[in-house]
Symmetry: C2
Subunit: 393 residues, 2 copies
Amino acid sequence: MLQPKAGYQNLKDSYLFFGISRKIEAYLNDYPGAHLYRMGIGDVSLPLCDAVIRALHQAVDDQASRDRFHGYMPECGAPFLREAIARFYQDRNIPVLADEVFVSSGASDELGDLLDLFEVSSTALIMEPAYPAYVDANIMAGRKIVYLTAGPENDFLPLPDDRLQADLIYICSPNNPTGAVCSRAHLQAWVDWANDRGAVIFFDAAYEAFVTEDLPRSIFEIPGAESCAIEICSLSKTAGFTGTRLGYTVIPRKLVRRGMNLREMWIRNRTTKTNGVSYILQRGGAAVFTPEGQEQIRRNIRIYQENARVMTEALARIGIRFWGGTNAPYIWMQCPDGIKSWPFFDLLLSRIQVIGTPGVGFGACGEGYFRLSSFGDPEDTKEAARRLVELLC
Amino acid sequence: MLQPKAGYQNLKDSYLFFGISRKIEAYLNDYPGAHLYRMGIGDVSLPLCDAVIRALHQAVDDQASRDRFHGYMPECGAPFLREAIARFYQDRNIPVLADEVFVSSGASDELGDLLDLFEVSSTALIMEPAYPAYVDANIMAGRKIVYLTAGPENDFLPLPDDRLQADLIYICSPNNPTGAVCSRAHLQAWVDWANDRGAVIFFDAAYEAFVTEDLPRSIFEIPGAESCAIEICSLSKTAGFTGTRLGYTVIPRKLVRRGMNLREMWIRNRTTKTNGVSYILQRGGAAVFTPEGQEQIRRNIRIYQENARVMTEALARIGIRFWGGTNAPYIWMQCPDGIKSWPFFDLLLSRIQVIGTPGVGFGACGEGYFRLSSFGDPEDTKEAARRLVELLC
């Protein structure tokens, strides 16, 4: 008889965001039509920018035209988009080649799929609090996970240590959920550690566009990363593609483990297990990397950054300790008066209709913390901040 | 040190379609600008139909609008599309429920991803000639494969046999590459075999829209399939979505192995490893299932069916033995005079500039056969048929 994968039986009860939506549903059932101030799940609220919309319409027209119609796309990405993304790196003096860029349907899809490259016997290292999918994807696969705990003592940025043993290192910077951002020295320590041990870093750069200060936006700014890192990025937060879907991954030519070239393995994986990403979406994505697209997405990002400023100002006024909110779209706050994460969620929902994300959903060490997102509507964000001050001051 | 998956080292040299494109490249290098008659890779040539184009444009406009903008989509598919697909089954008296339907980026993507549900210790059964990705995805995973050989002796439709031992059964009907179509009795034999042994059937229904006679288009027309089968389908050939990307998968609620419900496992897989399929593409896909969309896609399918008729008529005139071409978009021909598959490919390319697919690329038992596709341009197809007759008569 067929054997379903046993790892699924080791998954915990339910995915964080499912729990939140069930609570919201119950609340709206009791108070139909209530307005909620959504600072919870990291979904964007602003529409796609004009340059992207125009490119999408034009690509749809291509698919209606006998002469310009596109069938199967190259599995690793359309050359026009791989080249645009490579230039996006090269313009910042990061020597990424077009054939090291892989177009994906988004960072979460890719983070799951990339695990396909490694034996289950390899150990994953996850720094908690962490995006829950990192953990669940490895549990499903049946892979051993080593946890490294982040907290106020290291400003939510743990460093490697000589006793650690792991093969696959997840680093997310700017971090989800804590908003912490790694310095160059910090990333260098991880790169050196990985190169010494033959480990590989999964660098989740989904929030790189929110870095405004002189901090690394790509792991490939760090010497040595080209022999130990895979960078996974997405247009979800950069350009509002959460529901449109497009991402990219960089696997350097020099990334080799036990004689196997990971980039070549990934080409083989994609050509076998996919038929490429939609032509329409790739055209929309390419528009993000034009000067016009960059200027327009920056305008939206500035709106989200202003949201973050409004929220952090409110927290400062209340006197609550928090991390993130600068160089990052997430704010990680300590729940006041020692309240735990879920009771604080319930309190905000019932009393001021503000939705956030319970920190404990990102790992046990997130208990007593709470994540606020800056991707909400600006007016809602202002009102949520006002209500937080009123409730907690 | 990290251990890349060893299975990749067991893959054969190169993917079939890569080999073909390299030969085409070399030819075009020698004869720049030569016109080629492409009956090879199964890509479509007709643009998307009006109903789909209109829905895509409207969805792009939604993504430009503050009020109608869509962020993250439900990971298993938008309700509007899951319901439309369920109705598409129900209208044919096949009792598929909306929550048994999963929206995907396409059949090839899904066929790769679904393997995630099963332990590597489960054995796959592949009937050759077969779509090469079935084989390669299982080799990558490190799974044992049992082969069952199809040939003229069973009209390329092998039946199960009591000595067979396997857990995951791949059935593609209408078949790629042979164009053979399973009868109800044939599928019933496999369903009974799978239920008896606790095996699971992956039913690849990508070409169901080409069935015109009274033959099964879905495995769920067969009693008992709801406890042993997963159906994987795609709009690629049905509606010309090869470059636009959209597919769907049906996993019945009753599909349980060793106490684990596969549909619930797949929900957990999708919510962890994806963030759903593009809103824009799902709107485009939903238009396929409207009365207007159905009528328009049928018009295109009739053009491809006429291509198949032109090709089979030519083969009959030459006196070549072939399978498929009715109820199926592929024609599987015996190479004349005992020529092998790749030499026949080279002969057609060099002498009459017709591109087909060498049968041996679908498994050793495909040696001496050749696949022609009916998805080409109608004028090119007529000319290719004329040239074939001229060369081989």
